[in-house]
């Protein structure tokens, strides 16, 4: 509780000179009945003062958010071992947990830490994994997320995506109703928000480059939409060449050299490829209909996009060869009046999309549709880089909030800001481990 208070006071202090900065809070709607029980014991601490972060608490909250794990509450723990040698397995079998995480943190020099932890199989009484991570005081949360990633991968076979970030847009209005739009990024658990851009103009469609260092977005200026690419680290922005009409829906190619964009310079909205080196564009679709919202297949072999060429917005796929269209677009969705805004899973097998104002998954092989959400006005789905969850924008009453749900429909959770609206989420690529 005190720790929380401290974080809040710190957040308040940080936010004060930049009033209007949003603070994200995450609420998990319900626990999952078939989640794997796991105990994450509070880590031991060796150092002057108090431990600067409750690493085990971050790991517990990460694992719970995935919907695949049910961490045991600290109060129910039968013992507090901090090394594998201290663990008495029979005690933990009584608690019916399959896995146990124990660890300790040492301050090796001022503000430098080493965290050692072990993941233990309670049933067999064996160690599954053990790591030693070094981190500075500012990287401690990241280190905790990386522990969550390692535990998640060791137990599920799927890489964890806890050490990742989300980009999103927040909107606040002043007393006169004048709106301020902010492009921001934060850790995926809502911590460490950084505002990259503040603007009076609407910001749309943030899209991560595969290197995780750049974000493309659309600024809807009074003279029309413009695409920018901003570096997340040095904040430098590059304005792309602007064409008459639409300059929208940017999506980085898997090699990061090309953006798929929507332009209307030749009449109606069509998909083009924008070469980031030469500023030249190549037309990919040709129809008098609206073709928009291109998303890349992860191997670069094609695009999935929204088109109303059949009368209503539906998803289509077009193959690419050498940066040019190969063959005619193929329709992917046949049920529902409104199918749009594809986000392709990292394995290229399925697509998260807006299906009659709800979020659904489309199997790219069978074309079967599975509806994930029950709310209305759901928009902007974005796959986690491990393919296990989808984040999207929705409404809670009249306020715009973000929500996330696992691809199995588990662990629905809401991410809201303390002030204003939050929308247009984009999940970052996986980050390289820094230890």
């Amino acid at each position: 509780m005190t720790r929380h208070l401290h974080i809040w006071m710190l957040a308040a202090l940080l936010a004060w000179p930049l009033s209007g900065r949003a603070t994200l809070t995450i609420e998990i709607e319900k626990g999952e009945a078939d989640a794997i029980p796991i105990a994450v014991v509070p880590f031991g601490w060796q150092g002057p003062r108090r431990a600067p972060l409750d690493v085990a608490a971050v790991v517990r909250s990460d694992l719970a958010r995935s919907g695949r794990f049910a961490p045991v509450p600290v109060a129910d723990l039968v013992a507090r071992p901090t090394t594998a040698a201290q663990v008495r397995y029979p005690d933990w079998r009584v608690l019916k947990v399959n896995s146990l995480v124990v660890g300790r943190m040492v301050e090796t020099e001022r503000n430098r830490f080493r965290i050692d932890f072990q993941l233990l199989d309670v049933v067999n009484g064996q160690q599954i994994a053990g790591y030693s991570i070094r981190a500075g005081v500012r990287d401690l949360r990241r280190a905790a997320h990386q522990i969550s990633d390692l535990v998640f991968e060791a137990l599920t076979g799927i890489p964890g995506a806890f050490d990742t970030r989300i980009a999103y847009v927040t909107v606040t209005a002043d007393r006169r109703g004048r709106k301020t739009y902010r492009l921001a990024i934060s850790d995926v658990d809502g911590y460490n928000e950084q505002v990259l851009l503040t603007s009076p103009n609407p910001i749309l469609s943030p899209a991560w480059a595969p290197d995780g260092e750049r974000i493309a977005y659309v600024s809807v200026t009074p003279k029309g939409p413009v695409i920018y690419i901003q570096n997340v680290y040095n904040r430098r922005a590059r304005k792309l060449k602007r064409f008459p009409g639409l300059n929208n829906a940017p999506a980085f190619s898997p090699d990061g050299r090309t953006l798929a964009v929507t332009l209307s310079k030749d009449g109606s909205a069509d998909i083009y490829l924008y070469d980031l080196k030469t500023d030249r564009v190549t037309r990919i679709t040709r129809s008098p209909a609206i073709d928009v919202e291109a998303a890349w297949l992860p191997d670069g072999s094609g695009l999935v996009f929204t088109s109303d060429r059949g009368g209503t917005p539906q998803l289509y796929r077009i193959a690419l060869r050498g940066g040019r269209p190969a063959g005619r677009p193929q329709r992917l969705t046949f049920s529902g009046k409104y199918n749009a805004r594809a986000s392709v899973s990292p394995d290229g097998r399925r697509v998260a999309f807006v299906h009659d104002h709800r979020i659904a998954l489309l199997d790219l092989e069978t074309l079967a549709i599975k509806v994930l959400t029950e709310t209305r006005l759901d928009e902007s789905p974005s796959f986690a880089p491990n393919g296990d969850m989808v984040i999207y924008a929705t409404r809670d009453g009249s306020a715009g909030v973000l929500a996330a749900i696992s691809v199995e429909g588990r662990a629905p959770q809401t991410l809201s800001v303390t002030r204003g609206e939050i929308r247009e989420p984009a999940w970052s690529p996986l980050r390289r481990r820094n230890f």
Binding site: L246, V292, L377
Partner: protein
């Protein structure tokens, strides 16, 4: 920009047409704004004589068919209703009669559907109105289309009525 054009235009009139009688047909022009094709000729002549003063009077008359500047659409549609076509004809004739005046057509969408699709839908609506205006006599060079998608709603609710009001094209005459 347009103000500048106007000044040039007025100066030209003063120099070149100093002997002329001035804006004699001003009243007729105002009355003829929404009338049949024949009255278009009147406004055109009025414009030649009276120019911008005339246009301003026409555009500020609340009883003129030109007072209707917002046109509404069905969900996911860019089809202009028959009633609106008649009103747009007045705008087309006005633009034809005042070649020095330009207009921005702003297309908008309601909040349903995806933001990027709605950007394209707003543009399609603006272009549909532009096409009708050109067919009825306006010059393409007088018109500029722009879409704000669902980003600039006029009604802030989340119901049918708000959505109806937000699916629109607005005609904005530069400088008026």
């Amino acid at each position: 920009m347009d103000r500048l054009l106007k000044i040039v235009f007025v100066t030209g009139l003063m120099l070149g047409l100093a002997a002329c009688a001035g804006p004699a047909k001003e009243g007729e022009g105002a009355a003829g704004g929404g009338g049949p094709a024949a009255s278009g000729g009147d406004t055109r002549r009025a414009a030649e004589a009276g120019g911008p003063v005339d246009a301003k009077t026409l555009l500020s008359d609340p009883n003129s068919p030109l007072a209707k500047r917002v046109f509404y659409f069905d969900f996911d549609s860019a089809e202009v209703s028959a009633e609106d076509r008649a009103a747009l004809r007045a705008h087309a004739e006005f633009l034809a009669a005042h070649p020095g005046i330009s207009a921005v057509l702003e297309g908008h969408a309601d909040e349903r559907g995806t933001r990027e699709y709605n950007m394209a839908l707003g543009e399609r609506r603006a272009k549909a109105v532009a096409k009708l205006l050109v067919l009825q006599g306006a010059d393409r060079g007088q018109l500029q289309t722009i879409s704000f998608g669902e980003e600039r709603p006029v009604a802030l609710g989340h119901d049918e009525e708000a959505w109806r009001l937000n699916r629109r094209v607005e005609i904005l005459y530069s400088g008026y």
